[in-house]
Amino acid sequence: MPDALLADTQAEALHNILAQHVGLEGPLLPILHAVQEEFDHIPAAAVPVIADHLNIGRAEVHGVVSFYHDFRDLPAGRHVVKICRAEACQAMGVNQMADGALQKLGLEWHGTSKNGAVTIEPVYCLGLCASGPAAMVDDTLHGRLTAEKLETLLAEASA
């Protein structure tokens, strides 16, 4: 696949982000977070620009993007629902709950609904271990979930 180019407005946004992170020690993660915040993913065309700016190889930037679960190379759905799959939530029955919800949506973990509304991801611990099962819809947290509550959250996010 040939490298897609960034549109002028995107290039400008990227350069602004890079300018804001000058002088930081270890700037790559803060830059990538800012890029993902701006574009909802890390566009392939941004990788060489970031690499040139930091004077590191493209492979190194790509390696970092692909290493961390948070960074995606394609846009997610309009809402991202992260369901906790860690032990404390499992002790409260999250496995069955999540399986049911995924089946209903016809999705696998990391899948995005056909209308592009919602992406479902597993997360390993939201620190809500005494109020599980827990999930995060975008940046909003939800504890003490029941199958019904999870269904409502997913229905709202999928709309």
Binding site: L29, Y68, A86, E87, M92, V123, L126, A130, L141
Partner: protein, 508 residues
């Protein structure tokens, strides 16, 4: 009227923001002036949202609150359906020894005046008047050990950094609290952030570091917001910057956000991540204390270790060391989670038997069914069946049971738990989160999942294979991820062998 509604994630996730908004609206409708304070949580998570109203007889609690319960707060407080009485008299809280968490839930987390009024900055002022070596000695004498899980004596680590010659040293706070069942780091960062900032500043003075970073996981949006705000306020008030509290000494810090990799809670992986690299584990030596962040001498400490330093300096090493059991000195904020009736944070001196914590303090399971097992210390911690519930909560005591206390999270499971399934999950988690540097972890975890699937399918020879694989991972892995994944797997296998009996044989 002064009303407290927690801003803690565990409160917000069950409707605290909505309750706070309802309080403001109701007060406005009734034309009653209300001072609403968003405090941290007291740690009694089953009562969240726990609203507190200040009265002549102290702070009275109400919970778990729903918006429908709000109007009655303005009528008859004593007769309120959710009234819990004076919060500090609730047995769960009254039975604790709160040193690290003394202010959490009590104060406005972002008020320096409140912080100082409750003992804050006393430790830093004392440290400023001491020599660096004396500060390190004080921490050593307290017996404080790394609360992240490894349990390495904090003072000894600091002493190594103090003795290292360099033009720049760093204090790195490991706030990548990824272990399931743990939330103490999150709770203190949201409820008493200045404690962590003060602890890091004291660490900086002690070892000669002028710069610090908190590596905070991205799964904690509330903690990220509160910590960033606290750092900003601390700078404005001279608690950070070029001239700490007018002493002429410098220390500043930044909050950095992780990117969803569990392995970055391992200190060398964290350092790589902070430098902007993949979170690959580094071989030791060199120790981070000598060659850490950007190759400079670096203290890497857990949130709770650093947040405990102010109280040690405030009250003295001996005061802290007087609590505890054997070589486990002081208190531990124990987090009781999972399928549990009274889940939350319980800070107490080391030494309480595990079973007391589960049955007495936490009241058994939420489902009311018998406890089958508990996992202590996160995804890399062993499962303990009730037969081991007399084990006192301490580092060495747990090691003797082939277990670990780790970051002191306890996840309770009722008798419906599928132990083979949990063992499989431990391997699956390791496979997902392995950094890939060493073979026993990268390949071993994948083979572990397959081997457990073979056992489930009826291959009895696979049990021995799994045991052998666990030995290899334990002995051959570079860090605790691959090295400790055998703990949950083997503990499940050893204590619940019948669940690993091939289905075919069981049927015969």
């Amino acid at each position: 009227m002064k009303i407290y509604v927690p801003l803690d994630t565990a409160a917000v996730a069950v409707g605290a923001d909505e309750v706070a908004a309802a309080i403001v609206a109701e007060a406005k409708a009734r034309d009653i002036p209300v001072e609403l304070i968003r405090n941290g949580t007291r740690g009694m998570v089953w009562l969240e949202p726990l609203v507190e109203v200040e009265t002549e007889v102290g702070r009275i609690g109400f919970g778990p609150m729903e918006t429908a319960d709000v109007p009655f707060l303005f009528d008859d407080l004593e007769g309120h359906a959710k009234a819990l009485g004076p919060v500090e008299e609730i047995p769960y809280l009254a039975r604790q020894t709160r040193l690290t968490f003394a202010r959490c839930g009590v104060i406005d987390p972002l008020s320096i005046a409140d912080y100082e009024a409750h003992g804050g900055l006393t430790g830093l002022r004392r440290a400023l008047a001491m020599t660096p070596a004396d500060v390190v000695q004080e921490v050593t004498d307290s017996g404080l050990r790394g609360r992240g899980g490894a349990g390495f004596p904090t003072g000894i680590k600091w002493n190594t950094v103090l003795g290292a010659e360099a033009d720049q040293k760093y204090i790195i706070c490991n706030a990548d609290e990824g272990d399931s069942g743990t939330f103490a780091d999150r709770m203190i960062m949201e409820g008493d952030p200045f404690t962590l900032i003060e602890g890091m500043a004291i660490a900086g003075l002690a070892v000669g570091a002028t710069k610090g970073y908190v590596y905070l996981r991205s799964e904690y949006p509330v903690a990220i917001r509160v910590m960033n705000e606290a750092v900003r306020i601390a700078r404005l008030n001279g608690l950070l910057g070029a001239d700490l509290l007018g002493s002429g000494k410098a220390f500043d810090m930044e909050i950095r956000v992780g990117a969803g990799a569990y392995v970055c809670g391992e200190e060398t992986s964290l350092l790589n991540s902070l430098e902007g690299k993949r979170g690959i584990v580094r071989a030791k030596p060199p120790l981070p204390a000598l060659e850490g962040f950007l190759g400079k001498p670096t203290v890497v400490n857990n949130v709770i270790s650093l947040a405990t330093v102010p109280v040690i300096l405030e009250k003295g090493a001996q005061h802290y060391a007087d609590f505890g059991l054997g070589r486990s000195r002081g208190t531990m904020p124990i987090q009781i989670a999972g399928n549990v009736k009274f889940g939350g944070l319980f800070e107490t001196a080391f030494g309480m038997p595990l079973g007391d914590l589960i049955n007495d303090i936490a009241g058994g399971t939420a489902t009311g069914r018998p406890v089958k097992a508990v996992q202590v210390g996160g995804p890399l911690g062993a499962y303990l069946a009730p037969a081991k519930f007399d084990t006192p909560f301490g580092y060495e005591e747990f090691t003797a049971e082939d277990a670990l206390i780790g970051h002191a999270g306890i996840v309770v499971f009722d008798d419906s738990a599928d132990m083979l399934g949990m063992a499989r999950f431990a391997m699956e988690f390791c496979a997902v989160e392995s950094c890939g540097k060493c073979t026993p972890c990268r390949i071993g975890a994948v083979r572990g999942v397959e081997t457990i699937d073979r056992i489930k399918a009826g291959d009895s020879a696979a049990v021995e294979l799994l045991t052998d694989l666990c030995d290899t991972m334990k002995e051959g892995s570079l860090c605790a991820l691959g090295g400790f994944t055998p703990f949950p797997v083997m503990s499940a296998l050893e204590q619940f062998p019948e669940e690993f009996t091939p289905a075919k044989e069981a049927a015969e």
